[in-house]
């Protein structure tokens, strides 16, 4: 019976040999060790992806208290349900995974197999993700199969059985309401495995790029995260670069003709959860980097996107600097592009504010700060001056903030006083000529137009035809207290900022755009008594400066807004008086 004996021995060898032919991935043990042992790994790629949840380590229920990012996702999910009628996974911790780490099957055919002894199967899952109970079940299946087949060669059937089970996801968690729980320690490994497996599969595929119309290998293609359309990388780079360079950032989205018109289906479900509201289908900067696009280009994309978002926000205010006019962020600007779902319920604030509106229609002082996106200029969005802090009021003060007395006082000041062009201290002439010397800073100026006068030759101003004050030295000789009518219409207050009277420029090297009023001038009286200046000219009196805000500060704020140089620099002044004016004379 030598044949029989050989045949019996052959039976195991033959079985393993034919298995190796069917499954090239079957690895026989090294020669020298047990000749009837082998290992094979069985891929787990269920037809329907498995729903897997990774409960948090501390055992807290997955739907815990809502943290902010959590609630955003919930909100969007909610939106999607409404828009698409497709229910996304209700729990952010549930992942639909279609590629799982393989099962390793190690088999050993003992003496007497198959007729007398069952085969020995060791089964384990890579990363041990499969529950032990399930593994046990699968191991036992091997034994019962052997019995069912009448104790015959069973390995092929068993491997087939395992493969089928794997395709069905081992009958775990495939119904909508079933979720397989896996230790959170494995979360990264499993997701990584899934991603790599998908990527590998993707790279083996071939796609026809809709732009160059060529068939391209997956290795040079990119699948758009949002919709799953595939294009080749060079075409995407070409297109998106052009869009971003031309500033057409609205076109940085999928290029497929019908994309975005129908609701997203299936494909994205087991991939990355959409992070955006349904309306915005432009690509995330991170995806552009993945394609990849140059970092500089993506930077520009981010910048333009942000700008566009600000500009589409009706509440955005713009930089008052004329050379800038960039959009400015304020405390009310949307903090994050991810939260674009709000906005409609809020009452829209106007972009500009009427300074004279009743206070309740203006934002509270603490909310008036705006910072220009482009030049970083910080300004008040109500008065558009550089930021004055929340404890100062806007200038000039709104009539609603003034009492009748204050208002009358302010009006009187506008009509009957002239501010010093250097320090803004207001002066009222009681009598005499129009050559004034500031009581505070000794600046010489003209009472009629506020121009600087040369200390050495103040009267040249009144002898120059072009100055506008030609031959007007003695106008209002008896004072400017309203009783004698007005020869000049008051100071420059109330006029727009840029009343640079050009006619003055010859005599007046530093035209004075004095717009600010020392508004908190209360009370007006008492006036300072006239100071004798020396015969024959009586010295024009000066009044005390307004209390409250320092007018110099006010002008500084104005200048900061227009980004002007400080023309009042003392060096400049002495230069002017020493050289220029002398030349003029």
């Amino acid at each position: 019976m030598a044949d029989d004996l050989e045949g019996e021995e052959d039976e195991r060898t033959v079985e393993l040999a034919s298995l190796a032919a069917i499954y090239p991935e079957l690895v026989l043990d090294e020669p020298g060790s047990d000749p009837f042992s082998a290992t094979i790994s069985i891929e787990v790629e269920p037809v329907e992806p498995l729903s897997i949840r990774f409960p948090s380590a501390d055992g807290a229920p997955p739907v815990g208290p809502l943290t902010p990012p959590h609630s955003v996702i919930e909100e969007i999910s909610q939106l999607e349900i409404e828009e698409n009628g497709v229910a996304p996974p209700t729990n952010e911790d549930v992942y639909r995974i279609s590629h799982l780490p393989a099962l390793n099957l190690r088999l050993s055919l003992p003496e007497g197999y198959p007729a007398e002894k069952p085969p020995v199967f060791y089964l384990e899952s890579q990363y041990s993700w499969l529950p032990e109970q399930k593994l046990q079940e699968l191991r036992e299946a091997g034994h019962s199969l052997w019995e069912e087949l009448g104790r015959d060669q069973v390995v092929f059937s068993y491997i087939d059985h395992l493969r089928e089970a794997a395709e069905r996801g081992f009958d775990m968690a495939q119904a909508d309401d079933q979720v397989l729980e896996v230790s959170p320690d494995l979360k990264v490994s499993l997701l990584d495995f899934d991603l790599n497996a998908k990527r590998a599969k993707f790279e083996r595929e071939t796609f026809e790029c809709g732009i160059c119309l060529d068939a391209k290998k997956g290795t040079v293609c990119h699948r758009l995260l949002l919709c799953g359309h595939v294009f080749c990388v060079p075409c995407l780079q070409d297109y998106y670069n052009t869009c971003i360079i031309e500033g057409d950032i609205g076109s940085v989205k999928c290029i497929a003709p019908d994309c975005g018109k129908e609701p997203r289906v299936g494909l994205a479900a087991d991939q990355i959860q959409p992070k955006k509201g349904p309306k915005d289908s432009t690509l995330e900067p991170s995806e552009l980097l993945q394609i990849p696009l140059e970092q500089d280009t993506v930077q520009r994309y981010i910048k333009l996107k942000r700008k566009k978002r600000l500009e589409s926000d009706k509440r955005t205010v713009y930089c008052p600097r004329q050379w800038c006019q960039g959009p400015a962020r304020t405390s009310k600007s949307k903090p994050d592009p991810g939260e674009e779902t709000e906005s409609t319920d809020e009452t829209e604030e106007p972009r500009t504010y009427d300074r004279n509106a009743p206070p309740e229609k203006l934002p509270p002082p603490a909310e008036r700060l705006a910072i220009c996106e482009d030049c970083n200029f910080a300004f008040c969005k109500v008065c558009k001056a550089s930021w004055h802090g929340e404890y100062f009021t806007c200038f000039p003060r709104s009539q609603f903030e003034l009492t009748a007395e204050e208002k009358a006082s302010e009006d009187y000041m506008k009509l009957h006083t002239q501010p010093c062009p250097t320090c803004d201290a207001r002066a009222q002439k009681t009598h005499g000529c129009n050559h004034m010397i500031c009581f505070k800073c000794d600046t010489h100026f003209c009472y009629l137009c506020g121009a600087y006068l040369d200390k050495a030759n103040p009267y040249q101003h009144y002898n120059t035809v072009k100055s506008g004050c030609y031959m007007r030295l003695w106008e209002l000789e008896r004072g400017d207290d309203g009783e004698f009518g007005l020869g000049f219409g008051g100071g420059l207050d109330g006029l727009p900022f840029d009343v640079d009277d050009d006619e003055d420029e010859d005599d007046d090297p530093a035209p004075v755009p004095v717009a600010a009023v020392a508004a908190q001038f209360v009370p007006l009286a008492p006036l300072a008594p006239p100071v004798p200046f020396g015969p024959p000219r009586p010295q024009p009196p000066a009044i005390r400066p307004a209390r409250g805000r320092d007018p110099g500060l006010q002008r500084f704020l104005m200048m900061a807004r227009d980004d002007e140089e400080d023309e009042w620099d003392s060096d400049d002044l002495s230069d002017i008086s020493d050289d220029e004016w002398d030349d003029d004379a």
């Binding site: 809709g210 732009i211 075409c235 070409d238 869009c243 290029i255 497929a256 003709p257 994309c259």
Partner: protein, 154 residues
Amino acid sequence: MATAQKRITKEYADIQKKPLDGMRISLPSEADIHQWQILIDGPKGSPYEGGVFNLHLSLPMEYPFKPPTLSFKTKIYHPNVTNDDKGSMCLGMLRADEWKPSSKIDAVLSFAQGLLSEPQPDDAVEGGIAREYKENKKEFVKNAKAWTKQYAKK
């Protein structure tokens, strides 16, 4: 713009291999693949039936990132085609903001052909013709037929 050259060549070859019904396409100048000449037969059942319309398709250097422009060289009485000597049309997929780079020329041409069968008066460039089309279809058909006879004779 090697991309443009390559893609247009490919599309032209495809169209020659698989011609579109009722259309004959050629290049006026072999040296310039960006300019195409298209002869479209007036679709059956439309007032343009029996006519042949000469269209010009111009593909920009940035194609396919920028849309092609399509114009009628043959005068046509149609709400979506301007009545001047340019015969230009601008709607739907040809608009710069709606153009998708993966749209192909055969789709553009089929779209134009479809427009002959079914004008889109709500998106018209010739308001008068559009109004007539909507309110007095009989008159429109009469005019369109007359123009076809006069200008688009085979």
